[in-house]
């Protein structure tokens, strides 16, 4: 997109509002939109939790920016048994916690066992697979035994949930672990947290075991990192322009052009973000129970226009439920994707018996087609309104109920809607499909009520496959199945975009769980 005069006006206003605060060169301020409920690794599923936990602690293995290459991290190497049931990790012997205590295989096993302990109530325990036992036979060995193979295990172990923490600190702090303090082996250490304002981290000087995707294995280049919450999107843009913050992965789409034009800001982008925003159908509801209706809705919505107009060309219009770059995406899906075709949409509705009435609305057996969509407020409300306007053109009167995120999560677990909105990060097609389409995950995150025995079997087959081809084949079948049933209306794939001050050395964006800065070892001031 070319810069437009209106955006230049915005830049001028921002400059006029400048209140640049001088910052010590080695202190980095990252601007973000929201806080996490706490920072206890296995118990928070918030993206804002993960992005800080990755800096505070390490996982047994790491993941490279390409989202495919597993890197040694706390484990220097590992062996997988032939039946794919036993993973034997060799743990580094030179790792220490922030308080100076050496870390051993015992700590790794304890942290992983805590993740799978039902008492921890981790909402993402399923990511660990069907665990038989996790033990540390000696100070440098961890044995992870499964009851059934789990093809994505290493990817899942790279997620923040399995971060290794110090048992003693956890026992001292109890429920306050990750609230009043933290003790991990990450490149940064916990200094203080003011909820909904900022969390301050200081450099872990002894750190030298960073994953191989970074040139710098440690210690970190910057002395201090402050994650500052700025809830208002426009203010985040201004904060970067005026130098009040050095980096932000949370710039509103409308702000990127302004930032790219600004001499003191660079923007990096990665298409491997694997973050998809979609609207799901509650397929057990009458109004959207017919696959033809769901297909018609898919055909009536112009994702391309939305991507250009609403999101200023910063996103990729989505027609598939998983980004085509993700591991195990099936290319043969591309032929059958439902792209904008309002005429076919109208024909499908006619076929399904939903006929235009005198008011221009679709009607069947005296019932008017007015499905209810629940939505977050803010950016999602704009998206829902655009969908609403597109559907109106084929006679569907979508009702929107926008609500605050604090209310939305509870509401989305009910049966009181036909459509809902959601955006989600994933590392592979299998990760995405297992999350959403298992019947055991009804009512949430399987809010569609997709209950299909064959899907369940295929998902188990994919997750227990012992070779890549079998796994890909099983997931491909599920992808075809759910796409054919049009259980979602995909809207866009969001790239990872990070705006940063030109005072910083260029770096590559990461994508794991939406945490674009990952370990923070790459961040360095050049002046």
């Amino acid at each position: 997109m070319t810069p437009t005069p209106i955006k230049r006006t915005g830049f001028g206003m921002a400059a006029a509002m400048a209140l640049a605060l001088p910052l010590s060169a080695q202190e980095l301020t990252i601007i973000r939109a929201q806080d996490s409920n706490h920072y206890d690794p296995p118990r928070t599923t918030a993206q804002s939790g993960a992005e800080v936990i990755f800096m505070l602690s390490d996982t047994i293995v790491g993941l490279a920016e390409d989202m495919k290459t597993i890197q040694p991290l706390l484990a220097s190497s590992w062996d997988v048994s032939e039946d794919a049931l036993t993973y034997t990790f060799t743990i580094r012997d030179d790792v220490s916690f922030c308080d100076g205590k050496p870390m051993t295989a015992e700590d790794v096993a304890w942290s992983l066992n805590r993740w799978q302990d039902p008492e921890t109530k981790s909402p993402v325990r399923w990511r660990m697979g069907n665990v038989k036992s996790i033990t540390a036979p000696d100070a440098t060995t961890v044995v992870y035994e499964l009851n059934a193979p789990h093809s994505e295990l290493l990817y899942q172990l790279a997620q923040s949930f399995g971060s290794v923490i110090d048992k003693d600190t956890y026992e001292t702090l109890g429920k306050d672990f990750g609230v009043t303090g933290f003790n991990g082996t990450g490149p940064f250490c916990w200094e203080s947290w003011t909820p909904r304002d900022k969390i301050v981290l200081t450099r872990h000087d002894a750190y030298k075991w960073g994953p191989a995707n970074y040139d710098n294995a440690g210690p970190a280049n910057v002395e201090k990192v402050t994650w500052q919450i700025v809830p208002e999107a426009a203010t985040r843009t201004v904060a970067l322009l005026t130098g009040q913050g050095d980096i932000s992965p949370y710039v509103p789409f409308i702000g990127y052009d302004t930032l790219r034009d600004a001499p003191n800001i660079n923007v990096i982008r990665s298409e491997n973000a694997f973050w998809t925003n979609y609207m799901g159908f509650k397929i057990t509801k009458d109004l959207v129970g017919d696959v033809k209706v769901r297909q018609a809705i898919n055909l009536a919505v112009n994702q391309e226009a939305m991507a250009e107009d609403l999101f200023f060309g910063e996103v990729e219009p989505a027609y598939s439920y998983v980004s085509s770059g993700a591991l195990d995406y099936d290319e043969t899906l591309n032929d059958g994707l439902l792209k904008y075709d309002p005429e076919r949409a109208a024909a499908l509705l006619d076929e399904a018996g939903w006929i235009l009435n005198n008011d221009g609305k679709r009607e069947k057996d005296g019932k008017v087609m007015e499905p209810l969509a629940i939505s977050f407020t803010g950016e999602w409300q704009q998206t829902s309104e655009a969908v609403q306007a597109d559907l109106l053109k084929i006679g569907i009167e979508l009702q929107i109920e926008p609500m605050d995120s604090t209310v939305y999560w509870g509401k989305s677990a009910t049966d009181e809607f036909e459509m809902y909105v959601m955006g989600y990060p994933y590392i592979s097609a299998g990760d995405a499909l297992n999350l959403y389409f298992r019947s055991a995950n009804i009512p949430t995150p399987n809010r569609m009520n997709w209950d299909d025995a064959e899907t369940d079997d295929l998902l188990v087959a994919g997750s227990q496959a012992t070779n890549d081809a079998d796994r890909a084949a099983a997931y491909a079948k599920v992808l075809h199945k759910v796409h054919d049933s049009a259980v979602w209306l995909p809207i866009y794939h969001r790239p990872m975009q990070i705006a940063y001050s030109s005072k910083l050395a260029p770096f590559e964006a990461h994508n794991i769980y939406g945490a674009g800065l990952y370990k923070g070892l790459q961040l360095a001031f050049t002046e």
Partner: protein, 310 residues
């Protein structure tokens, strides 16, 4: 009704100019007279004219609108026609969804005014009735007024939040919440005015000639208090519109894609830095409506309230 044969003094009779002392308090000036005086006040004239234009615009929105207010287009965030990049087709520009702001303003003021009228009507009617009853009957007075004190302690916004939680988002809970929150103020003012009226000799005279309570209330109290109450309600109108717009701004009022001025301002908030017109234009219209309502109410009070007359 034993007094049917008695000659009932006409309701307007207890306001002769010749009344001695301060008893001309309740005198209504001659109608033609106040109208002329109102229009002579330039600010008031302008305010009334503006209000009339906004109301007419709202009523004839379907005729005046150039676009469907709910229909989006590919030209998003077009600035107003007089600015660079502006288009004559959308003379006030378009919003984030490419909808015509001018057409949405017309439909938006329809909803905003409707919320204001309904809420003030509801609150004003119930409140004034309670206030008048309170002044008329000393026995129920403390009951009513203490209930009003309780109601007074509920902020309108909190009440609306609770109602929206129960009833779901929409215009109705907002109207009810605003109506309820107007009740205590109207009741207190109506009671104050009515107490003054009740002290007048004609009330006693009416009682003496054997008028029923209903007749006394209706003919003597109500008719003499109504103009002052109406002034208060007209002043309350602007305030109610403002709170109504605030509630919509917070996402509690109208449902998308309906246009409502507060909601339109809220939708533009996210683009304030880049396309300020989306939020500024509806906000300016809210400002104009509220200002006009307040100026007109003030002027009405000036000409109608005898206490302010020399």
């Amino acid at each position: 009704m034993t007094a049917t044969t008695t000659e009932i003094p006409p309701a307007t009779s207890p306001q002769p100019d010749s009344n001695i002392g301060g008893s001309s308090d309740m005198t209504a000036p001659a109608r033609a007279h106040w109208m002329r005086r109102l229009l002579r006040d330039r600010a008031a004239f302008l305010a009334l004219l503006t209000l009339a234009l906004v109301i007419l615009g709202a009523i004839f929105a379907p005729l005046l609108a150039t676009h469907d207010p709910a229909s989006n287009s590919r030209s998003v965030m077009t600035p107003p026609a007089w600015m660079a990049r502006g288009k004559a087709e959308h003379w006030l520009g378009t919003d984030g969804q490419g909808r015509d702001i001018y057409s949405r303003l017309l439909y938006g003021s329809q909803l905003t005014l409707l919320i204001g009228f309904l809420a003030v009507g509801l609150g004003g009617f119930i409140g004034s009735l309670l206030g008048l009853l309170s002044a008329f009957n000393e026995k129920i007075d403390p009951w009513i007024m203490r209930t009003m004190d309780v109601l007074l302690s509920f902020p309108a916004i909190l009440l609306a939040l609770a109602l929206v939680a129960v009833m779901g988002q929409g215009i109705l809970p907002v109207v009810i919440a605003l109506g309820i929150s107007s009740i205590p103020d109207c009741a207190r003012v109506a009671r104050g005015i009515a107490i003054g009226v009740m002290k007048q000799e004609f009330i006693e005279a009416g009682r003496a000639v054997g008028l029923s309570n209903l007749q006394l209330f209706n003919r003597y109290l109500l008719r003499n208090a109504i103009s002052s109450i109406m002034i208060f309600i007209s002043l309350r109108f602007g305030q109610t519109i403002l709170i109504g717009a605030t509630l919509s701004f917070l996402g509690l009022g109208a449902k998308p894609p309906a246009a409502e001025l507060g909601m339109m301002a809220s939708q533009g908030r996210e683009f304030l830095l880049f396309a300020p017109h989306i939020a500024v234009i509806p906000s300016v219209l809210i400002f104009i409506i509220v200002l006009s309502a307040n100026v007109a109410g003030d002027a009405l009070r000036d000409v109608l309230d005898p206490r302010l007359q020399a």
